[in-house]
């Protein structure tokens, strides 16, 4: 049975098609499952659960070019979507320039907020190659960090912006 163009394979279980980090996949999700829980169940553990209420930003992923809090979005809503998670940016061997800048600026402490913080930064730099400090602060103010005092993360975004231009 199809609901809104999504295949319901059995009662409350849906099959959805989506692109994750460039790979087209067909996956199943239960009614009511958040995108955050689904992504983690599908093995993308870099997406972090910090609050599950849309406050902390740790589960930020990019859906169709827009940063989204995975905990607030049902997985079915990502049907036909194009999703980028932290795993899609770079690897330990070949980090993305933003990831590299976060390392070099000393922007990482416990690291739990960092995947979300980096994806928010990526979205900012995709739109604005040369953001001001105020624009960086605004772009990151939905990503809570309890360790750093934020200054090194802002420096990291500036550093990455320069290198990406």
């Amino acid at each position: 049975m199809k609901k809104n163009n999504i295949l319901e394979v059995k009662n409350g279980v849906f099959e959805i098609t989506l692109t994750i980090n460039g790979e087209k996949l067909v996956l199943s999700t239960k009614n009511g499952e958040s995108l955050l829980d689904a992504l983690r169940r599908w093995g993308l553990k870099g997406v972090k659960k910090g609050c599950d209420t849309g406050d902390c930003g740790s589960c930020t992923v990019i859906v169709n070019g827009t940063p989204v809090l995975g905990c607030l979005v049902p997985a079915v809503a990502a049907h036909d979507g194009d999703i980028i998670t932290i795993e899609g940016l770079g690897t330990v061997q070949k980090p993305h320039p933003i990831q590299k800048a976060f390392v070099e600026a000393g922007a990482v402490q416990c690291g739990f907020c960092i995947p979300g913080m980096i994806l928010s930064s990526k979205h900012l730099l995709d739109r604005m190659p040369n953001p001001s400090e105020a624009e960086i602060r605004k772009a990151l103010d939905g990503n809570l960090c309890r360790c750093t005092g934020y200054v090194k993360q802002i420096e990291a975004v500036k550093m990455a912006a320069k290198r990406l231009r």
């Binding site: 829980d37 983690r40 993308l44 553990k45 870099g46 997406v47 972090k48 659960k49 910090g50 609050c51 599950d52 209420t53 406050d55 902390c56 740790s58 998670t85 932290i86 795993e87 940016l89 770079g90 690897t91 330990v92 980090p95 990831q99 590299k100 976060f102 390392v103 070099e104 000393g106 990482v108 402490q109 416990c110 690291g111 739990f112 907020c113 960092i114 995947p115 980096i118 960086i136 602060r137 605004k138 990151l140 103010d141 939905g142 990503n143 809570l144 960090c145 309890r146 360790c147 750093t148 005092g149 934020y150 200054v151 090194k152 993360q153 802002i154």
Partner: protein, 764 residues
């Protein structure tokens, strides 16, 4: 001093790349075959008599496995922390809303949570106490022992009443501070995996794996060698993962023992707020007396902490607060009395600063009031009275040469433009709706566990050099974000003259190193650092001797001294690498693995009168805060914080800067925004929607200076860094608000309505 290759350099963090790429495996990221999931069933009310617990409805949940109660505890139903008052699971009485009463195990995390909601607790409500001051009253109902006092300490010195009578100036004030929630971004969590021999391996997000070991062994009734604790990458601690992870891990272990399957227990944010430790709310009445020349002569303090329902770490938190309660000053006559009072609320414990920030807010605010009364500049007043090398603290401890407090104050005074701004304050922009002001504070911090924790103040290390020259270091203290893996690798690399890249420090495995105490009290660099040096020193001897022999064999001129630097050894024009040298050591069948041990020197403190050496060494800080207060709304914005620290030698400047900036922001956030509310024994705002912490929008400017006063006993002269930056922020901000608009607010958080009310009162 010989030139250092690795210590003192901003080398890259060892764990940064796995974290920025999302590959670091925190507790919830680990999976095991056949794993089940647990969820806690929690007490709904502040104090209940448990009549029965039933899973009659819960068992119909799809995926339901079992219910775990105190009856499933094979060991002792007492969690071994400081005092043995907290059961792993309550038998008759639950003492705060949110306390775990039972656990549900199911095949998925969602099923476990759903089933836990269906477990029925039949209970009778008992009268409860939610106010620590009322708890201490004679006629209060008794909820803890015979007097509701969890713990109490004194510091007594000189003749206090007489000194106050003789004082030319006396100030007195009551101050209080609210809870602070750790708000580590990773909630509490653990996975317990049963082993074939009846033992268990526990993966735990924790600062203190050996506390977890004590607890799991006690709960399961297992000998320690059948329990292995592996620390997972830990997403922030700040004290919040000191004691309570042991409770979480024990619950997971009880579920694993009952089901014979791996069990994962990950806390949701709400239950983490409701049941895990917090910074104690504090209340203090402080009085200072000074003579006509502005010399402090007397101090009287009564200090009460809201301990919550169980003791957990309250006794040692209170003790640290007691020792530091009079501030970093020379005062001949002192009376400090402190109490941790029981209430039927969440048990409070460790949080960066550990009982000091609450009392520091009180006494550093009052110091400003005293200076104002005398008509002295508050910085001049502090300068006149503060501790210098050779002076005695209020406990009679003589301060040694590693004390740069006076210089710190001078540096902050100069860099902040104090003298000019202080004079301008208050009046600046007086015609507008906004007023700017600047405020000051000075603090000290005893590094390590001190006299009250002396039996735990030791640490081990294992240094192992492989045939390929790579180095593996095991320690008993943890990385929780502060940079321990990096700083300790730098210390190992320095001692061995091994390339930094070749040294790896492992996350703690309790089976590899002896109990090294907790990772708290800014003690890791000092304790584990010294243990690593002890382990590495005999290896260094073998490596250096072998290097010398290799160089000589190569024809080096051995009348010239051998220089060891950055992983290479050079003499008389020849060079060999660390790799070549260790390969030769292995060829010669030399021992390339050593264990180290460091125990802190003894302290002489006596609990009866609070006199003697309390800590082996102190770190120091000075802070100035510049604020802008909106006079119409009372909203305060911190514009800039200037801070200077004496934490001994800085091992990694970039990491130290991160600790400083992060500590300042946590302190500022507590001072201004963070407001956890209880009503009738129930927590009202257990979430980040209604409990607000600082974001990038609130970030002030930072100006941070390190003055490195060498500590002879420290690894490469280091002391301790982690906690110092938080402690003095709140009073500096409060003093700045007073300077800006005259409003003296004696309540943290310094909420807009409190500031506004003071402004209104002054107008009327």
């Amino acid at each position: 001093m010989e030139k250092l290759s690795f210590v003192g350099k901003s080398l890259p963090r060892k764990d940064a790349l796995i974290k920025v790429t999302g590959r670091a495996a925190y507790a919830d990221d680990r999976e095991f075959a056949g794993m089940l999931y647990a969820a806690a069933v929690r007490s709904p009310r502040p104090r209940i008599k448990i009549l029965s617990i039933s899973d009659a409805r819960a068992r119909h949940t799809s995926g339901y496995v079992t219910l775990v109660t105190y009856r499933d505890i094979k060991g002792v139903n007492k969690w071994p922390v400081v005092m043995q008052d907290y059961p792993f699971l309550p038998e008759k009485e639950a003492r705060f809303a949110g306390e775990t009463v039972a656990l549900v195990v199911a095949k998925t995390a969602a099923a476990a949570k759903a089933a836990a909601r269906l477990v029925e607790i039949k209970f009778k409500e008992l009268p409860f106490i939610d106010d620590p001051l009322k708890s201490l009253e004679k006629d209060s109902i008794k909820i803890y022992g015979k007097d509701n006092i969890i713990s109490s300490f004194v510091v007594k010195k000189g003749a206090v009443d007489k000194a106050f009578n003789n004082a030319a100036y006396v100030v007195e004030g009551e101050f209080s501070t609210n809870y602070q929630v750790h708000a580590y971004l990773e909630t509490q969590g653990a996975i317990a995996v049963p082993e074939p021999d009846g033992g268990v391996t526990v993966h735990s997000s924790t600062q203190c794996p050996f506390y977890v070991l004590d607890a799991v062994a006690a709960a399961l009734g297992l000998p320690y060698h059948k329990v292995k604790i592996l620390q997972t990458v830990t997403g922030g601690g700040f004290g919040g993962k000191e004691d309570v992870p042991a409770l979480v891990a024990s619950h997971a272990a009880l579920c694993a023992a009952k089901t014979g399957r791996p069990v994962k227990l990950i806390y949701g944010r709400k239950e983490d707020f409701q049941s895990m430790s917090k910074r104690h709310p504090g209340w203090a009445r402080v009085a200072y007396g000074a003579d006509k020349n502005g010399r402090l002569i007397a101090c009287r303090v009564k200090y009460v902490l809201d301990g919550g329902a169980y003791a957990t770490l309250s006794p040692i938190v209170l003790w640290r607060g007691t020792v530091h309660a009079a501030g970093p000053y020379k005062i001949a006559n002192v009376s400090i009395e402190t109490y941790a009072a029981a209430t039927n609320k969440v048990p409070c414990g460790a949080f960066r600063g550990f009982g000091q920030p609450q009392i520091c807010f009180a006494q550093e605010s009052l110091i400003d009031e005293l200076a104002a009364k005398i008509g002295m500049d508050p910085v001049d007043f502090r300068m006149k009275n503060m501790l210098e090398p050779g002076d005695k603290t209020v406990t009679g401890q003589r301060i040694n040469s590693s004390c740069g407090l006076k210089e710190l104050v001078g540096v902050v005074r100069k860099r902040s433009g104090w003298d000019k701004k202080k004079a301008e304050g208050f009046r600046l922009k007086a015609e507008s709706d906004k007023a700017r002001g600047i405020g000051f504070s000075a603090t000290y911090y005893g590094v390590g566990l001190g006299a009250k924790g002396r039996y735990l103040d030791r640490a081990g290390a294992l240094v192992n050099i492989y045939k390929d020259s790579s180095v593996c270091v095991n320690v008993g203290n943890t990385e929780m974000g502060q940079g321990a893996l990096t700083v300790l690798a730098q210390i190992a690399a320095e001692t061995l003259n091994a390339p930094y890249e070749s040294v790896r420090v492992e996350e703690v495995d309790s089976s590899k190193v002896p109990d090294s105490g907790p990772t708290v009290a800014s003690r890791t660099t000092l304790m584990s650092g010294n243990a690593i040096i002890e382990a590495a020193t005999p290896l260094r001897g073998r490596i250096f001797k072998t290097a010398f022999n290799l160089l000589t064999a190569k024809g080096a001129d051995f009348s010239r001294p051998m220089v060891a630097s950055k992983g290479a050894f050079s003499m008389g024009g020849k060079t060999v690498t660390f790799r070549e040298v260790t390969a030769e050591c292995w060829n010669l069948r030399q021992k390339m693995s050593e264990q180290g041990w460091y125990a802190a020197p003894r302290t002489t403190f006596k609990m009866e009168n609070g006199q003697g050496d309390a800590y082996v060494i102190y770190s120091y800080s000075a802070d100035a805060a510049e604020v802008e207060v909106d006079l119409k709304t009372g909203v305060t914005k911190v514009l800039k914080i200037w801070a200077a620290y004496d934490v001994g030698k800085i091992v990694n400047p970039r990491l130290a800067m991160g600790q400083a900036q992060g500590g300042i922001l946590q302190g500022m956030s507590w001072a201004l925004y963070e407001n956890l509310v209880y009503k009738n024994g129930i927590m009202v705002n257990p979430n980040f929607t209604d409990y607000v912490i600082a974001t990038t929008a609130d970030k002030p400017e930072y100006d941070i200076t390190f003055l490195e006063k060498p500590y002879a006993e420290g690894p490469y002269k280091a002391k301790g860094m982690g906690e110092v930056p938080l402690i003095g922020v709140a009073p500096a901000v409060a003093n700045a608000i007073a300077n800006a608009c005259g409003a003296r607010v004696r309540l943290v958080p310094l909420l807009p309505e409190k500031v506004w009310k003071e402004i209104r009162m002054m107008k009327n």
